[in-house]
Amino acid sequence: MTDRVSLGQDFRRIAGALAVPVAVLLFWELLSVSGIFRPQVLSSPVAVAVRWFAYLAPTEAYNPKTYSWISWALSGELLSDTLASLGRVVVGCLIGGGLALPLGLLMGGSRRINRAFNPPLQFLRPIPPIAYIPLAILWFGLGNPPALFLIAIGAFFPVLINTIVGVRNVDSIYLRAALNLGADRLTVFRRIMVPAAMPYILAGARIGIGTGFICVIVAEMIAVNSGLGYRILEAREYLWSDKVIAGMFTIGLLGLGIDLCMNRLSAWLLRWHRGQEN
């Protein structure tokens, strides 16, 4: 009896969640089969789906002599593009965040350091990372270096700002407790300030990765010959709107995946935190 009720509720919940997407897809399908738009401009959802699978599938036929089965299955264009973009985001964010974290800790912890670094940083911060593209290409040429530079800049400021705020907001009662237990300045910094500021730092990292993700797509459209950003721009030149949309869809999935991973990571790192559900 109760089973049936909860089953009915489940069904209604799923139906409720699917209603809008299904309606949108139907409307889109109708729009594209009606012939109002040419398929080069707006291809149908079915065509996009077909194209997405084709994009995913390996380009060459399976040949056990040259490849192992696994590497053949993963040799599709979509996967190599996704991995290229993902790799750039990860490396770029590690560079940007890796520079911002220590600087933010120092700036949050010391008034003197803050006074020295704050004015130039406040001046640079409003410049959108995208505006660095010309300079990045002049400095680093084409390929990975300018892309990583851009992503690092995109990730740098959110991590920096949040780290500073996080350190400033550490409740002084923890500092007192640590000093009372005999902690010196370095210990206070490492064992108290850093973990106490962690909720802010992780929030900054999440924003930073989001910015880095925007930057990787833009950088690939302009300065690199691989990755999802490059691929959708290439598809546009051939007027393959289905592949453009399939690529965008993949970008969305990758962004969602990165965000989910970050969510998991911060839930684990902040398992001690009151505000965190786990």
Binding site: L181, R191, W272, H273
Partner: protein
């Protein structure tokens, strides 16, 4: 032996100056349990913070075994009303922290922490984070955390103020047990006259603005103390009069818009 010698403290200057403490003299021998009573804002926390080394006195000094105290240190273990446990550390890690940063070897830390947790009834909560503990358990951890360093002096600022009556009594008994076994000097701030009388070998009543020592009463009642006994309640009434006088001056200050 911890001695407070002529300590004064004024916050602010000019018209806004608040004379929080004035010429406080108080010596606490090992094995003495001194309870500090007084209305809100009379400077109890200020005094504790000066002894702990968090706040500098304007005049006078604090001497631990004859040596002047200049900064916070583990020889004066402090228990805060707000618990102040490190929320990112488990119960076990909180208690081990002091030993760890002092450079103790892991093989020495583990048994010491284990036995402390057991003696305070915390063994089964070892791996929990503070957010998952009740107030009473948190305060046990806070006590265990400073006990790990075996300080000669314990400073407690209304440690049980936020607890319900039953938990409070349990922790008071626990505290008495620890103090009795270790004969530390304890300086314990409370708002509750009954708590002061239940715990203290001495009850010190402070005046309000400037904060001075009004009375220093030795409590000779036998232990365990019976809170409903006649002697207990006679003393309680006597101290109540002293405290209420100061409380009236506090209320007056509050009415005039200079609350504590």
């Amino acid at each position: 032996m911890i001695a407070i010698a002529g300590v004064s403290k004024t916050y602010g200057t000019g018209m806004q100056a608040i004379p929080a403490l004035q010429d406080i003299h108080l010596a606490i021998a090992p094995g003495e349990f001194v309870c500090l009573l007084g209305p809100s804002g009379c400077g109890k926390s200020s005094l504790l913070n000066i002894v702990a080394g968090f706040v500098k006195a304007d005049a006078g000094q604090v001497l631990l075994d004859g040596k002047a105290v200049t900064k916070p240190g583990p020889d004066r273990g402090m228990v805060f009303q707000e618990y102040a446990l490190f929320p990112w550390m488990t119960v076990e890690e909180n208690v081990a922290f002091g030993l760890e940063i002092r450079g103790a070897r892991p093989q020495d830390i583990t048994p010491r922490v284990g036995s402390l947790l057991r003696s305070l009834g915390l063994a089964e909560f070892r791996k929990r984070y503070p957010k998952d503990l009740s107030g009473g358990l948190r305060q046990r951890v806070a006590i265990a955390r400073i006990m790990a360093l075996n300080p000669p002096v314990m400073l407690m600022d209304e440690p049980f103020g936020a607890l319900d009556a039953l938990t409070r009594r349990t922790l008071q008994d626990e505290m008495l047990r620890i103090w009795d076994a270790s004969r530390k000097s304890v300086l314990f701030v409370t708002h509750s006259i009954e708590e002061a009388l239940y715990l203290g070998t001495r009850v010190v009543v402070m005046t309000f603005r400037p904060g001075r020592i009004k009375r220093d009463i030795h409590i000779e009642l036998p232990r365990p103390r019976n809170t409903s006994g006649r002697a207990f309640n006679e003393l309680k009434r006597e101290i109540e009069v002293l405290v209420m006088d100061e409380q009236a001056r506090y209320s007056e200050a509050e009415r005039l818009g200079r609350p504590g």
